[in-house]
Symmetry: C2
Subunit: 420 residues, 2 copies
């Protein structure tokens, strides 16, 4: 690699000043931020971001989905664009790092390339996607940009249609705009996102950089264990068909199945309802909300099957029936090999320990995986805390993440030239 | 025993005609009855009962609690009264046998004694207690008769104060009346109640008669297992403090504890709530509604302790905290030894198989246990079904129950003479 570009670094002082300024927008007393998508605080953060873009002499772009970006024509006119970025919205009462770090790292990379004045085989664009966290639709802006949204998708927003329409109006957006924000397949050279890990694997492995191998696939089901309601006094323990017994055995088994047979995966029973649900009647039904995640499609499917099979055998053991309502499986998104190699090379050149790891949460990168080569760079989360004011990454590791993004972007750009 | 009284039997034809007529009042399409206390159908059943009493030449008595009775002065004037009976109200959409069988068996016994014209050392009274099932207050009429009600007890009826007052008005009752319905301690020679078992122990033991040893005590608690809410994707299985794990282990253990160490007792977890209760967040809290029942006071207490201890150890095992809110223990009511012996002797003389057994449900008899010697006669419930239209006892066993009541009452009456 060109020794000139190999030694480029972001500006820690400017990066931190921007991070601190952004953290004040929607700041909460407990050290977090409250910037749900299209809320007043979120729109204020976006206005601030537009100002930062103008400050470097670039007119900010806003597409039909409200995605905000800074476009740097550092490559051939009408040549492909390397997209870098993340999102400025937060979960309600969330943390300062989730999303914001990736947008500011991308801005920093773009500023460095601009200030250096180098020519690259690609153009560069630092982007802030709309509503990654799903106030209305999870990954909304990146899905719109990838052309994955249809009109029927917009009918059932999480917070209800009225709130969605009101927020679109406040932000000056329209449904038609969302449906017409798709980019052409050949227009993007790739997408790279820096993000906090939201887990403890990097810290446990004493690594500064996580090279994301795939974004996890998610399956979910509603499992209903069905027994018989009986008088909880007069019905002996032997004679009961108690739905809570099968459900409890399954919940315990879930943990064992994951720990023993699916060490790279997770599962969660986050909801239980007993019916009729009173002290003195043996539960006739136990209704469980099950979610499971796996990094590869075949593992996700195998895990789903193993869990349902176990639920069935635990139901049988207690004389219960099992009904399964599958809510769907969202397949994993493998990251692009060339992007992964570029991230690993970049980390090596920066002298940073790195490990490969799957993302256990969803990210905008998965929306774009069908459109262009995508990759993600994770930085360590202290205590793994996330979606919480406790969210924290050391400033040193934030800088490492931004420099890894810079070096990865340069490597991919120069590889793009060799490939073209 | 006097060979004349030893050979007395109730009239199966009259008993069945009355049972069939009563079953039609509030009858439901599925073969059950719907006679919640003080509802129109319940008041109709009571009017019918008053007619049956008048038919035999007795003016029905109605006390301040609305308890209906037929008083037969077959003993010394102002002598003690042997009370026999049960209740005509039902749970909503209940069965034909629960309560009704005991009232009609008592009426039948009173008619037989009246028709025979024998003199006894006691007077006899067949009673129908108000609101045994607890539309407003469980065991209301029998508690009032036993002097166990206070004005503050009447402040929080199960169905709300407005519905209670409305129902009292409809039935021509008043709160003052309820509080002034207590009988004097020396006025009663005893109380005997025939009731369906509501379980399968008699059928399992091939017995026609259950000699109730005690009415079970009931304890209840709310147990809260407390862990930590975490992202259900990014938090590894090892790192979770998942409240559902401790709760599930406890629910499974409850069954084992009862089967292994407390074979005469039961316990039920009828409610579970997880918090925050969503698919993609590890449950921080699992809130359980626990009820447990035991036939003796020391067993009830020991069972409650064993369950809480186990909840604590299962919480510890999964790194959780446990909070316990004890909702109170209602002590068991042991039945009187002399009444138990009289029931066993009566069954022997009738050639009926009998076994001792605890009542796993509450009954009016427990209200009176502090006032006079009490006993209960159980008859077999097919499939143990109760509080359901499926409730069923063979007609043969209903007759056995009524004859056992007759022979028990005569034995107690004559013993009363020997004692006096």
């Amino acid at each position: 690699m060109d020794p000139h570009t190999e030694h480029l670094r972001i500006s820690p002082a400017r990066f931190q000043a921007n991070f601190d300024a952004l953290s004040k927008i929607g700041a909460t007393d407990d050290g977090g931020v409250h910037r749900p998508a299209l809320s007043e605080t979120h729109l204020a953060a976006r206005a601030w971001f537009r100002e930062r873009i103008r400050e470097i002499g670039i007119e900010p772009r806003v597409d039909g989905a409200g995605n905000h970006s800074a476009y740097l024509p550092c490559g051939p006119e009408d040549g492909p664009t390397l997209l870098i970025g993340s999102h400025l919205d937060s979960v309600p009462h969330g943390g300062r790092f989730d999303g914001a770090l990736g947008v500011l790292a991308a801005l920093e990379v773009l500023i460095v390339v601009k200030e250096t004045g180098i020519s690259l085989p690609i153009n560069l664009e630092a982007i802030d996607f709309t509503d990654e966290e799903g106030t209305h639709f999870g990954l909304m802006g990146s899905s719109a940009l990838a052309g994955n949204l249809s009109r029927s998708d917009l009918e059932h927003p999480r917070g209800g249609k009225a709130a969605f329409v009101e927020d679109l109006n406040r932000a000056g957006l329209t449904e038609d705009g969302l449906l017409n924000a798709a980019r052409h397949k050949g227009s993007l050279a790739g997408f790279i996102e820096v993000h906090i890990e939201q887990g403890t694997r990097l810290i446990d492995a004493n690594a500064e950089i996580g090279v994301v191998t795939s974004i996890i696939g998610i399956g979910s089901s509603i499992l209903t264990f069905i027994g018989r309601s009986d008088h909880a006094g007069t019905t002996s323990m032997e004679d009961r068909l108690d739905a809570s017994q099968g459900a409890s055995a399954f919940i315990l088994a879930t943990r064992d199945i994951l720990l023993e047979d699916f060490p790279q995966c997770v599962a969660n029973v986050g909801q239980i309802n007993l019916k009729p649900g009173v002290f003195n009647i043996v539960p006739a039904e136990a209704i469980l909300g099950l979610e499971y995640r796996a990094p590869e499609a075949h593992t996700l499917h195998r895990l789903g099957q193993a869990l349902i099979e176990r639920a069935r055998s635990e139901a049988n053991r207690f004389g219960l029936r099992l009904e399964v309502e599958e809510l769907g499986e969202y397949p994993p998104s493998p990251m692009n090999d060339a992007v992964r190699s570029a991230i690993a090379d970049a980390a090596d050149s920066l002298g940073l320990n790195h490990i490969p790891l799957a993302s256990m949460a969803g990210h905008d990168a998965q929306s774009l995986a069908g459109l262009c080569p995508v990759g993600m760079i994770f930085v360590p989360s202290v205590d793994g805390a996330s979606h919480s004011p406790r969210e924290f990454t050391t400033w040193e590791n934030c800088i490492h993440g931004a420099n890894a993004l810079l070096q990865t972007a340069l490597r991919l750009a120069l590889n793009n030239d060799q490939a073209g």
